[in-house]
Amino acid sequence: MGCGNSCLSMRKSERAVKAALIIQNWYRGYRARLRARQQYALAVFESIEYADEQSQMQLSDFFSFMLENYTHMNKEDPRDLHGKLDDLFLIFYKNGLPSGDNPYLFNGDFIDRGRNSIEVLMILLDYAINLTYQKSKTYLSSYLQLHGKKILQTLEDFYTWLPIGAIIDNETLVIHGGISESTDLKLLHRIERNKMKSVLLPPVSTNSTEPEKKKVGAIIMSGIITSKNDPSEQLSKQEWEQIIDILWSDPRGTKGCFPNTGRGGGCYFGPDITTNMLNKYHLKRIIRSHECRPEGYEICHNGKVITVFSASNYYENGSNRGAYIKMGYGMALKFSKYQITNSTCMQPLHQRVSAMESSAIRILKEKMISRKTDLIHAFQLRDYSKSGQISMEEFRTIWKLFSSHYNVQVEDSQIDELANTMDLNKDGSIDFNEFLKAFYVVHKYDQLNKSNTKHSRY
């Protein structure tokens, strides 16, 4: 048995295996780095989106106030993001137009943020007999300034009558956000939903010693607008909270129910909450939306919770697919994914990731520039020695003043931790760059404190 040839070929294939392994390893590393960059970009988009929601609240309050008290408004263009009309057309094209035999269920958020919000709304209204929509958080006011007060009023009323949830075939619960441990379907069924003008206007208590509302906008509003309404026109606090939970909650892997600090409303609910809820009402699953998913849909909580998101390329071209679900009685669920294709979607992965990244960095820059004067001002205010740096002592003093003035409880250990986190190069002081970077942290910290006091009912 001559060794010569077989030895040679064995060595050759050994080398081939080694070479393949090296290339494999390198490739895995390459893809991982791309994936990490993708995640960073997505995190930026998501946090700006959720932070936006907070500031949108205040903006919306302001607009409502202006509308009530002034007849003329300057025209304002809505933010220029992608039109969701393409996705809608695609869905109708693939599945036929809505009809008695072909019912559709739209699970909320169909008009905010899109460039073609009004077109989408009009098309959906055209087929109103056969569509059931559900409410989502409504930023109706700011998007409809263009079209006159009367239309706005009608649409607002219409919006308040939209159903807040649906149960399909006695086994699937469809809601926009999620659930909480206290979600009560019977209560939600009973609620006179048209009393909920907007999630942004919490019910005013007749007892004025309630200091719970931390949102400045809400306090202004409750003094001026809702005082016109008598208590029977509003929801009870419990009803209002139930609806907020339904519209704003997100599923998470951790068991239990926690305040949703990302959004400032609703909660994070775990698989045990889902199981309890489904068992209580003899349901099989929950279908919800509210969160953008890279593949258009995602299944979690052991198959019991399905997230479906229908706006493809939501954050940026190539950021995500859209999806919808087809259901038939007794049939398994059918998922369909799609992506509105333009040339950018066909590019190789690293180019798509770069495009997403630059988009994320750009909007981050815009955010910072728009708040630049605030940031510089805040920094200078705390920089006593004008050295371009804040020492830890200065920081602690300022923070203590700040917290006592704004009635925010911050403990010493938290201040230290905050300062240490800001001091990135650990030299004992905070320079302007670190401050800018950390501003985000401070903002998050504030939300954390606010939510902790708001959700003391847990």
């Binding site: 070479a19 393949a20 290339i23 390893n25 590393g29 893809r31 990490a36 995190a43």
Partner: protein, 160 residues
């Protein structure tokens, strides 16, 4: 002080000596100061990489993302090496999640010791050339798939 404690965490158990590293880049001993700075920098990088996959903001990541996190930090472990690393950071009863408190010290050590370094570019080039027997300067997609799935450890065609 806190920084010295971190250094001890990384080396203390191994050598019973504080602050004397075993391996370093140019093969000579460096002072503890330099190591502390390195450790701080590694901590920062590890924290950032971990956080971006921490979707629930509760200092845990899905165990399936650990490979991506480790690789995004510049390491190139094989699947087997990754498996061993996972064993070090998992809980006694696997929950499907890895906690930051467990991950940080292990990963810091990996970075300090320079484990799982990626191969230098010329070796990578050689590897390609080995498979490209006809010396064309490229590999077709089919050939690549064939090599990746038949030889070596399966990548899974979805990765391609």
């Amino acid at each position: 002080m806190e920084r010295q404690r971190q250094t001890a965490e990384v080396f203390g158990n191994e050598n019973n000596k504080m602050g004397i590293p075993r391996n370093c880049e140019d093969g000579c001993l460096v002072g503890t100061e330099l190591v502390e700075v390195k450790v701080a920098e590694f901590h920062k990088r590890i924290k950032e990489a971990f956080e971006v996959f921490d979707h629930e903001s509760n200092n845990t990541v899905d165990v399936r993302e650990i490979g991506t996190i480790v690789r995004s930090l510049g390491c190139c472990p094989s699947e087997g090496e990754l498996h061993n690393l996972l064993a070090e950071v998992e809980e006694e009863e696997p929950t499907g999640y890895i906690r930051y408190e467990k991950f940080l010290p292990v990963m810091t050590k990996v970075l300090l010791e320079g484990r799982y370094r990626p191969v230098p570019d010329d070796v990578l080039l050689q590897a390609f050339e080995t498979l490209d027997s006809a010396k064309r300067g490229f590999l077709t997609k089919e050939e690549l798939i064939k090599y990746m799935t038949e030889e070596g450890i399966e990548l899974g065609s979805s990765c391609l």
